[in-house]
Structures are given as C-alpha cells and as structure tokens.
C-alpha cells in the first residue's frame, strides 16, 4: 500500500491506497511531505475501489452547482458522506469516530471529484477542534496580507479577485475557492490549499489576514465595515462544517467568534468593475 502525506495550513494528513491515483492528485503535489516524517497526521484516509458494505440513513444533503453531498450514519454509528456529480455516484466516505481514520469507496466515475470532496470534508471536520476553518472564498495576497472575498455562489468572488489582480499593484491570487483560516496566538492567518475550484491555484503559502469582504451584487459600489455579530453572520455561511454534530458546531463557533472579534470584516455591494476593486482596496488595505 502506498502512503502519501500532505501538509495543508500546518496540518498533516495521510492517504493510503493501492490504486493508480497519482494523476488525480496533482493539486496536492505542492503540499507533499515525506510520509511519517512530520507531526502526527490529523487524519488518515484509505482509498479503495469497491462498493461500501454498510448501509446508511440519510441525515442531510447539500446540492450546489450540480454537485451533491449526502450525509448520513450507519447502524454502527459511523458518519457517511456520499458524493455525486450530476446525481451520479462518485464515491462514499465512511468515517470512524472523530474523523481520524476513514475509508473512501470509489466508483469508476469522477474519481478525482470523489477524492477532492472526501479530503475537503475530512479536513474541515478533523481540523475544526484545532482553531481551523475551511472557507468558501476567493483570496488574494497584497503587500504581504491576505484579503478574502466571500459571497453566495455566483456573486462574483472570483471576478472581484481578478479585478484586484488587474487593478491593484503587488497583488497575487492565493486561492480561488477553498482557503484555510487559522486562529493562532500571534493572530489570524489565511492559507492556500489543494482545493481551488475551477482555477488551478494550489499554493503552499500563507499570510496574516488583512480583511474579509462579504460581496453582494448591486448596481453601484458601496462598502461598509461590520462589527461583532454582523461579522459573525457574514462569515458563518462561508465555513464548511457539520453543524448538527455538537462537537463540530461548538469548535467552529469558537473559531468563528474569534474571527468575528479580531478580524476586519466588511460588507460590499458592488458591480463587477475596476472601480469596485479600487474602492475595496482603498478602504480595506492594511496601512
């Protein structure tokens, strides 16, 4: 069995598999570390190509952009996540208590999609108690700080990030879809990850968080600073989790409260134009 270890935002995880999956793991290459050499893995995932044995009862499901995640539980109390692309099963993830040891059962359809989704779910849940949050966000680096753009699907997060790249000097894309945020003793940091949506941008880099902007489409450009509970509400829906599991919800709440208290957060109503990027930059840049 081949073991591969990766370190994302300082947390190591290990994949074990006999399958020929290297081609589907290219986005993980920048995060590779020698197996077993570093800190203990926060989780280990075994990947196999057979049908799972256990049946499960559905608890909840998420359906976004023709991707479905069905969450459930087996009679033996294991958590199960089934991943479907356009309603066609790609894989089923079966997790032991605490998400430290799991198995992904792949079908012969959309294996890469199955692996990426399984790893994102496991990463979000296994690191939740460690002051870590997997966000749905585009994030740019500018003058040594990370700036995150949040919003519902289709709001224009990636577009706003691109407008920064085109209009604001010294700006690079850190991640286009799923960055990681950690609350650390020295402050809040944002990290690149192997998951970046449709944009291949897999950077093992991190920066102190400069600010978070919740975007909303509007026929004008306007930006407003948020405080406390408003900040909490702004970030809440952009963080991956399984809120109906109390230990996960409790852990994420601590992280979200820390971010809401300490991060600079704004709400921006905007057009997809150059002025939006300039106004945003002028308002939120760390001086």
């Amino acid at each position: 069995m081949t073991a591969r270890s990766y370190k994302v935002a300082g947390h190591v995880f290990t994949l074990e598999s006999d399958l020929d999956i290297d081609e589907g793991l290219q986005n993980y290459a920048p995060f590779a570390v020698p197996a077993g050499s570093d800190a203990p893995a926060v989780f280990t995932l075994e990947i196999v190509a057979k049908a799972p044995q256990a049946e499960y009862t559905e608890e909840a499901r998420q359906d976004e952009e023709s991707q479905q995640i069905i969450c459930g539980r087996t009679a033996g109390n294991q958590s199960v996540f089934e991943f479907r692309l356009a309603h066609k099963p790609a894989g089923t993830l079966v997790c032991e208590e605490g998400y430290r040891k799991s198995t992904l059962y792949l079908t012969d359809f959309a294996q890469r999609f199955g692996i990426n989704n399984a790893l994102m779910v496991l990463y979000a849940l296994a690191t939740a108690p460690l002051g870590t949050a997997l966000f749905h966000s585009a994030v740019v680096e500018h003058d040594g700080y990370g700036y995150m753009f949040l919003g519902k699907s289709g709001t224009g997060k990636s577009t706003h990030a691109r407008l920064w790249l085109e209009n604001i000097a010294n700006t690079t894309l850190l991640n286009d879809d799923n960055p990681v945020v950690r609350v650390l003793p020295e402050g809040i940091r944002v990290y690149g990850s192997p998951w970046s949506g449709k944009t291949p941008c897999y950077k093992d880099e991190s920066y102190p968080l400069g600010g978070i902007v919740l975007l909303e489409q509007a026929p004008f450009n306007k930006i407003r600073a948020l405080r406390g509970i408003e900040s909490y509400a702004a970030i809440l829906t952009s963080i991956s989790g399984k809120r109906w599991e109390k230990s996960i919800a409790d852990a994420l709440h601590i992280t979200e409260n820390a971010i809401a208290r300490d991060a600079r957060v704004w709400h921006m109503q905007c057009l997809p134009d150059n002025d939006a990027a300039r106004l945003c930059h002028e308002t939120i840049k760390v001086r």
């Binding site: 608890e59 406390g228 509970i229 909490y232 509400a233 109906w244």
Partner: protein, 89 residues
C-alpha cells in the same frame, strides 16, 4: 410548548443569539438576538422541557423583581416572537 430541536443559544461577541444547527433547523438561515430576559427565558424553557407561558412567568418572577401580571405579559410577547419565527412548537 417546547423549544424546537436543533436550535441552540450561543454567545456571539457578547450577545445572546439563537441559531439553527440541528438537522431540521439548518434552513433557519438567520441569527436571532435575545435580550437578557429573553435569554434567561430560553434557558428556563430548555430546562423545563414542556413549558407554558405560566411556567415561564413563574420562573421570571423567581429571578427578577417583577409583578406576576407584568411577567406574564413579557413572556407572552417573547414567546409570541419565538412562535412567529418558528423556534418553538
């Protein structure tokens, strides 16, 4: 009445807030801010399990120096709000 399953009271940056976290409450999609009295009543309602306006008014009178009639009016206003947004049943 009882509190609907899946709704929890949390401290968000110093404010008392109800949010939907359980299965069946995930679509609540908002944060409900409570003042000190409402937060106290929410906790009492949770402890009581099956509660009524009367049982909460009793609890309010135990904790605060308030006339029974006023307590009942306050409870009815607060619980009425909870019913409206669908966090009690």
């Amino acid at each position: 009445m009882k509190l609907k399953e899946g709704f929890v009271l949390r401290d968000v940056c110093g404010e008392q807030v109800i949010m939907g976290e359980g299965i069946g409450a995930l679509d609540f999609g908002r944060l409900l801010c409570l003042n000190e009295t409402a937060a106290y009543l929410w906790k009492k309602a949770g402890e009581q399990g099956d509660f009524s306006a009367d049982s909460l008014a009793d609890a309010l009178c135990e904790e605060y120096d308030v006339a029974r009639e006023q307590a009942l009016a306050d409870v009815n206003a607060i619980v009425g709000e909870w019913k409206k947004v669908g966090v009690v049943e």
